[in-house]
């Protein structure tokens, strides 16, 4: 059993083929990946170049690195950075002038507890602090979070009995000193110096050179201090002691950067060298962060931010703000958000501050090697690219430059490119799809038209209906159409030749027949011996048969000519049929005829003589085949638009082999009986011609009620009756 073939129209096939276009976005995405790799390489190179430039600028300048060789290793967490302030701070307790100068306040809390009472709980963040230097003054800012701010009073005049800030420092000449700042109430304060040794009986002395302002806030208090620069050496530290109970005046906790013993455990206060900062600033790029560290990993200078505005994605690709493509992209952006992941953005500065550079790259750089590394950020596809470059002086590594940059820009560009690619791919798809669809539709339409023409060119009887108009197109379909038309042309010519064979033959025959006839006639005028008469008589018979054949053969041609020249008129089909039947009754006696028709006249347009002739042919046919003694039935039926004339007889059925060609010229199945009437098979052909002339149709089929044949002619009626 043959499988059913799936029918795919040309359009469907074209659309399937256009799926090959899917290769475009795939190629595009591969390209985008390539581009991203290239961009990263470029970025690495640029970062490396920047690090190299910075390192080169810093080469052979050990002074910038200010490494105090005599200082021991210090704990990273208690190292302080002192900022260079462009303007002096106003001691008013409000920290806005610190923030205006973009100074970072650093938090200290639970992790920086120096001392703690057993039942005390220290908050994760207890205070924020910052240090700055302007001219000859060092400023300190403290933002303390304290639920109960306790001041000194007359009963408890000592600073340690209230909330206070402790300061410890090493002077430039090596002396260690301790100061305490407490307040009687909000307002200006002055520090008191206390002996280093807590158990010393010496009384605290006022240190008027250290001034400050105590400002109470909703969450605690702010303290701003000014110290003379000359007083502060390489070490500096401070702490906040919290007292919450006015009765016991007990210290709950001490949080800060001072070691419990003070002295050697004080952290260092680094004032970044201005030249180093300048170099870093001048050579850095937006979106890059540069660190300069000394050989002991201490921070010398730091500049830049990973979050600083990078060249935005929109500027990365050529500006097409007003173009159609940009507008389409803007419209489609919500769709893209579904398909493509959004471009990642650095929300917060990663590792905002670390006095010691944490990354491993520093180790390699400090060993003298240039190294690049990537770190992934938590929960983000952004990576931080870091390049570390050693700084040399006298063939010794004195420090390192580390330049960091995030891959945010690269990722943004990649996404923009993907968006652009998607738009282009969509546009290409649409364009090509529509074009192919239109083309396929047109192509399929042309082929379909050709198919329809082919089916209609030859009617069910195998006769040529109309020669198709050949297409003028200069392609394969046009060729096909032209070949088909020429094939039909040749078929038409051949058919015409065949159909006119009869009439041409008859014309040719007429002259020889005339010769024979006139000769015979002359012969008959002679006196002939008796035997000759017989032969003459037979010759005459043969000749008259020949003449009849000739007449019949030309009948169709004459009919066609008559039909061409005939003038149509209105006539009553019923009257014609009735009259004919009367004639048949007389002509074919004793054959019986029945005639069934309604009483009303049936108006038709045509040539009544031809209708009569047609009926003659049909009745002659029926009479020839009808069994002896049977009746020939003639019936006229009408519908709103047609009149149907049927002639029925009882007799043999239509043989299968002639069924298709019944109404064709010269189709006959009569046995070559020895009767006088030669049958040329033209009767039904002529009937068919006449039926067609009247815009009707003729058909023949076996009867269902009895064994016999029914021939039916359907003719269109004159629908309107022009009064």
């Amino acid at each position: 059993m043959a499988a059913r073939r799936l029918r795919l129209s040309i359009r469907a096939k074209m659309l399937l083929m256009s799926c090959v276009l899917l290769a475009i976005p795939w190629i595009g995405f591969r390209y985008a990946a390539e581009l991203e790799a290239i961009l990263r390489e470029n970025q690495e190179q640029a970062v490396l170049n920047t690090a190299r430039a910075m390192a080169t600028a810093l080469n052979d300048r050990p002074s910038l690195f200010q490494t105090p060789t005599h200082l021991p290793e210090t704990d990273a967490s208690i190292s302080l950075v002192v900022y260079r302030l462009p303007h002096p701070i106003e001691l008013d307790g409000e920290l806005d002038d610190w923030l205006d100068q973009e100074v970072e306040l650093r938090a200290l809390g639970r992790e920086h507890v120096i001392e703690q009472a057993d039942d005390a709980e220290v908050a994760p963040i207890t205070l924020w602090h910052a240090l700055g230097v302007y001219d000859n003054d060092i400023y300190a800012a403290f933002e303390v979070l304290d639920e109960r701010v306790i001041y000194t009073d007359a009963e408890h005049p000592r600073a340690e009995s209230a909330d206070h800030v402790r300061i410890g420092m090493q002077t430039p000449w090596g002396e260690l000193r301790r100061y305490i700042v407490a307040a009687r109430g909000p307002g200006p304060v002055t520090a008191v110096q206390v002996p280093i040794d807590a158990s010393s009986p010496l009384a605290p002395t006022l240190e008027p050179r250290i001034q400050g302002f105590w400002f109470e806030t909703a969450s605690g208090f702010n303290l701003e201090l000014r110290l003379p620069r000359a007083l502060v050496g390489p070490r500096l530290g401070f702490a906040f002691a919290d007292v919450d109970d006015t009765q016991t005046r007990r210290m709950r906790s001490i949080v800060g950067s001072i070691g419990p013993e003070g002295g050697e455990t004080l952290g260092t206060a680094m004032v970044p060298a201005p030249e180093a900062v300048q170099i870093v600033r001048s050579l850095s790029r937006p979106g890059a962060r540069a660190w300069i560290i000394a050989a002991d990993r201490r921070l010398v200078a730091r500049s830049g931010s990973l979050r600083a505005p990078t060249p935005t994605a929109e500027a990365a690709l050529p500006d097409t703000a007003n173009s159609l493509l940009a507008r389409v992209e803007a419209a489609l952006r919500p769709v893209y958000r579904f398909v493509l992941p959004p471009a990642p953005i650095l929300e917060t500065e990663p590792e905002p501050y670390a006095p010691l550079y944490q990354g491993n790259e520093a180790d390699s750089a400090l060993a003298g090697k240039v190294v690049s590394a990537r770190r992934a950020l938590a929960r983000s596809p952004i990576e931080v690219l870091a390049t570390a470059h050693p700084v040399w002086a006298d063939e010794r590594v004195i420090g390192a430059v580390i330049v960091e940059e995030s891959t945010q820009a690269v990722l943004a560009v990649r996404r923009q490119l993907s968006e652009r690619l998607l738009s282009l791919a969509l546009a290409a798809f649409l364009l090509v799809g529509v074009a192919l669809f239109i083309f396929a539709t047109r192509l399929a339409g042309r082929i379909r038209r050709l198919r329809d023409e082919a089916e209609q060119a030859i009617d069910s009887a195998g006769r040529l209906r109309a020669v198709t108009a050949s297409s003028a197109a200069a392609d394969e379909i046009g060729d096909l159409s032209r070949s088909f038309s020429s094939a039909l042309d040749r078929l038409a010519q051949y058919t015409q030749y065949l159909e006119s064979l009869a009439s041409r033959l008859s014309h040719e025959l007429r002259t020889p027949i005339a010769v024979v006839r006139s000769s015979l006639d002359n012969l008959q005028l002679q006196s002939l011996p008796g035997e000759a008469d017989v032969y003459v008589a037979r010759a005459e018979q043969g000749l008259s048969r020949l003449a009849t054949i000739l007449t019949r053969m030309t009948e169709a041609t004459r009919l066609e000519r008559m039909m061409r020249e005939a003038e149509r008129e209105r006539f009553d089909l019923r009257a014609v049929a009735a009259g004919c039947v009367e004639g048949y009754r007389a002509a074919y006696a004793p054959r019986q005829f029945t005639f069934a028709a309604a009483a009303e006249p049936i108006a038709l347009t045509g040539v009544p003589d031809l209708i009569a002739q047609m009926l003659d042919k049909l009745v002659a046919n029926a009479a020839d085949f009808a069994r002896a003694g049977t009746t020939i039935e003639i019936e006229l039926r009408t519908t709103a638009n047609d009149a149907t004339l049927s002639v029925r007889n009882a007799g043999p059925r239509i043989p299968a082999e002639i069924k298709q060609r019944l109404f064709q010229s010269m189709a006959s199945v009569r046995p070559p009986a020895g009767d006088d009437e030669p049958h040329l098979g033209l009767g039904l052909y002529i009937a068919h011609l006449i039926a067609e002339f009247h815009h009707g149709r003729i058909s023949a089929r076996d009867r269902e009620d009895i064994e016999g044949v029914e021939v039916e002619v359907r003719l269109p009626r004159l629908v309107t009756d022009p009064g």
Partner: protein, 230 residues
């Protein structure tokens, strides 16, 4: 004096056969093979009757040309056309060649002779004064069989010999239906029904040219024709 008949026919056998048969009847016959030969002879002396084949040698309508030339020389000479094509009938009729009859080549000799005799009788009578024999009238129709003339409403209608015989057959018994084969016999020809129909159609047209209201020839479908009595 015997009449002189000219036969212009390019087929030698037919020409000779006809010539022999006509000579046997007592006519003088000359046969010509092509138009030029015949025309040359006619210029010298006109025949009493001409039988012309339309398709002569290489000229399809050579016979028409000859007929025109002959008519120009004499308005009364009887001319009979012979043709192998029945399409010529309408052509000839339409062009009003002025021929007295047109026949297909396979007409039998007796029929041909009958026509020739009738035409000669007409010529003879034309010289003599009119007599009232063989004339009958039916309404506006007046048929003079001898003179081979038909008048409708006093106006002459040009009919060929064959057509005249058909009209005579029909009008002789007005109201009676004549079958086609009867008309054939009366018109002395052996043809098929369609040819009879064409003849009748041509007759009708000629009468209607003379009188647009003419409708005395009635078709009885399935039977034949009938002359309507007014």
């Amino acid at each position: 004096m015997s009449r002189w008949i000219a036969i212009v026919e390019d087929d030698a056998s037919i020409r000779e056969n006809y010539s022999d048969a006509l000579r046997k009847q007592g006519y003088q016959v000359t046969g010509y093979g092509d138009r030029q030969e015949a025309l040359q002879a006619f210029r010298t002396r006109l025949p009493d009757l001409a039988i012309i084949d339309i398709g002569l040698k290489n000229e399809i309508d050579g016979g028409f040309e000859l007929c025109r030339a002959l008519r120009a020389m004499s308005a009364t000479i009887p001319i009979i056309f012979l043709t192998a094509r029945d399409s010529d009938f309408d052509t000839v009729s339409g062009l009003r060649m002025g021929a007295d009859d047109y026949l297909t080549k396979d007409i039998s000799l007796p029929h041909l002779l009958a026509r020739i005799a009738a035409l000669f009788r007409r010529t003879d009578i034309a010289q003599a004064p009119a007599s009232a024999e063989d004339v009958f009238e039916r309404g506006k129709l007046r048929v003079d069989l001898t003179r081979m003339r038909v008048n409708w409403n006093e106006a002459p209608v040009e009919l060929t010999v064959t057509e005249l015989w058909i009209v005579h057959a029909l009008a002789r018994h007005p109201g009676h239906v004549k079958h086609r084969d009867q008309l054939m016999r009366d018109a002395r020809m052996v043809v098929d029904d369609t040819t009879v129909t064409s003849h009748v159609k041509r007759i009708r047209r000629k009468f209607m040219d003379a009188d647009p209201a003419f409708d005395c020839i009635e078709t009885v479908y399935g039977m034949g024709y009938r002359w309507k009595a007014e």
